[in-house]
Symmetry: none
């Protein structure tokens, strides 16, 4: 069983809005065991919409549209559907009542143009919209199903989950589920990861592995299609064990887990406290750490020291070191970490100093040069990195290696 | 002249990622006066990709793909392109040098599988990727153009703007241009903005206005289609003047300008220095300020004080105030700002304290309660806010009002 998604709206083709409906609908369909092979976006244009409908019906069992259900003349989805399936538009009194109740609940006078939203093709079903006035439409047509949804994500999402997923599951008696698990790796380039899992990337369905490179992170996504959740999970776990054996502590988490969350869990479990001295990252490391709920248990303090004077006066870095080696150096990184450790009275202190760019480079110190230091009661580590990219990308990659250094050293 | 966009990747069809490339590319094409009638997404599947290519070539002058250019066996775009246009894949030595230089600059050993990225169809042009290894490809095929771009937005965006927009403009000498200008407003709710520009939102083409609500910000986008840049700009400026007269200093910038950038410009112009004492924002305010290149001219220091002890010991907030009013209070916000002003020796000091959630609320202090204080040589301001949303959303809104408070008070 497969579905095709058609998003309707000239604003999509002009790039005015990012289309989040396709990813939402695709996720829900995958979870229900329904494959999706194509997403389409077309404008509010009758001829092109009809053509898209016909093509989708020729290759999919289920066609789902979003958009074009509003009360204005721009909104042509319902008329186009009626002409496609050869049925008349008729006023549905129950639906009219439903639309009117929406306005009553909002204490707004019923606008006469909204009567248009109660005209639907003869014989189709409609689904109540909790959040807006445009109903969802289900048209059963030969052995296919066409579902028309409104455009706004906040209207689609409750309607699709509550009404349409159960409808589709029931109608199709889909016996397949697709499950996935994403294994997240820090501290390795895509090509290094790729080289170690080439065999797994070549796996054929029902269980496959994909590789996704992100800034300072590589994800391996295992997917499995099976007759039950249990069978899919078993197949995924088998691959996950292989991946874990190959990457060991380079893996920091799964699925929705974040690097800052992983660091937080370790700090909580080990009952350790932490503080940061940030120069080039400008507060990003502590911003990320504090995105985790409950981080005040372990995170105590950060100093963003954006000048040599502050590095000297607040963090206690000696002026001699600053002038001899420069603010971006192993020596200063280490002194910054020691300084914040003393100031905050914590178990672990981490510092970051570097050149985020686009200016600030010198003959021997290019943009992207970053030093990260970690100091505990027992350890003193300083690492050098060279990153590429924009100012924000350098900052992000520096925060990523700082967090990863903590994760691996406590 | 019209273009069609094909996004390639099974991860799109599974809904694993939101497709932002289509909106980015569509915007840039619209600005160049090139219409877009269809967006397509297909998986990493040779047969379906060939079919999508053929259909796109049958109805568009320009076909732009994104995705499937990586070094792995999943990446089939280039092979599919070669078979589509009937040309052999050959090793391009210049391109191989370019790809190798990427790894040299990163100090990573050249992974042998990356040699695959230097094989391109005979006779096509390639475009350097500043951020990654996959080049952009331009294939001129009969009277059509096929452009293949990498998948990651951060790789596409600079390449498309710097190399491909000029290429397309030159080749096509498009007669229509669409120009847009986005006016950015802080400190007003969407409904307030909407109420003041209802007449403009109803404008009909060629010049229209759209409203886009974001977290802590409302954007008004003016679009105009005309025969020349000049004519479009005149039409836009006429509307812009009306909007500026209605919103005055609620407007902080245009287009790519950011609130932190606007604050930076004012601080630079007035030669003032600044420091932050952050509690609930956890470093986000200083992270945003330091996202602006050259911010070290005005930004000196921040202390993220995540415990009462740090607020007392480092910022000098009296223990009596902390116990009497609590850390989230007008009184403590003001003392934090005074403390960081003293510590950093700056002209302007700003503090933020609040409850980001999801835990930490008390009977009288709900999640989302935030105090922001600003202290200069002459002024002392404290403001109370009540935000809604997740932890990260509360943090962001708090950083937004902190930056806006600076902008309006210096």
């Amino acid at each position: 069983m497969n579905a095709e998604i058609i998003c309707i709206g000239t604003e999509l083709l002009l790039g005015h809005i990012v289309n989040t409906n396709t990813s939402f609908l695709s996720q829900k369909l995958a979870e229900a065991g329904i494959d999706v092979y194509h997403h389409i976006a077309v404008g509010d244009n009758h001829a092109r919409l009809i053509a898209a409908f016909r093509q989708a019906l020729s290759r999919a069992d289920i066609v789902i549209t979003s958009g074009g259900l509003g009360p204005t003349v721009d909104d042509i989805t319902i008329e186009t559907l009626a002409s496609l399936i050869g049925r008349k538009l008729i006023l549905n009194k129950m639906l009219l009542k439903d639309v009117k109740e929406y306005f009553i609940s909002k204490k707004i006078k019923f606008p006469k143009e909204s009567i248009r939203q109660a005209y639907i093709p003869e014989g189709v079903k409609w689904v109540h919209n909790n959040v807006g006035t445009a109903p969802g439409i289900i048209a059963e047509y030969a052995d296919k199903v066409i579902i028309c949804l409104p455009g706004p994500p906040r209207e689609i999402e409750p309607m699709f989950v509550k009404e349409l997923v159960p409808y589709l599951k029931k109608r199709l008696a889909a016996n397949w589920v697709i499950k996935s698990r994403t294994i997240k790796i820090a501290g390795s380039a895509e090509s290094q990861v790729d080289g170690k899992v080439r065999d797994l990337l070549n796996l054929k369905p029902p269980t496959t592995v994909g590789i996704y490179a992100k800034l300072g992170q590589v994800d391996l996504k295992i997917m499995s299609k099976a007759r039950s959740d249990r069978k899919a999970n078993i197949a995924i776990s088998k691959i996950e064990r292989k991946i874990r054996a190959r990457f060991k502590d380079h893996i920091f988490g799964c699925d929705d887990e974040t690097l800052e969350g992983a660091v937080g869990e370790i700090l909580t479990a080990k009952k350790k406290t932490i503080a940061f001295a940030e120069s080039c990252t400008g507060g990003l490391v502590s911003n990320r750490i504090t995105n985790v709920g409950g981080s005040s248990r372990y995170f105590k303090m950060a100093v963003v020291a954006y000048s040599n004077t502050i590095k000297e006066n607040i963090l206690g870095v000696s002026w001699a070191l600053l002038t001899k080696y420069g603010a971006v150096s192993r020596q200063v990184a280490l002194e910054m970490a020691k300084g914040i450790k003393f100031l905050a009275c914590v178990d672990i202190a981490v510092s970051v100093t570097g050149i985020a760019g686009p200016t600030g480079a010198t003959k021997y110190k290019p943009v992207g040069l970053v030093y990260v230091a970690l100091v505990t009661g027992k350890k003193q580590i300083v690492k050098e990195f060279r990153f590429k990219g924009s100012r924000e990308e350098v900052k992000f990659q520096a925060s990523q290696v700082a967090l990863d250094l903590i994760r691996r050293n406590i």
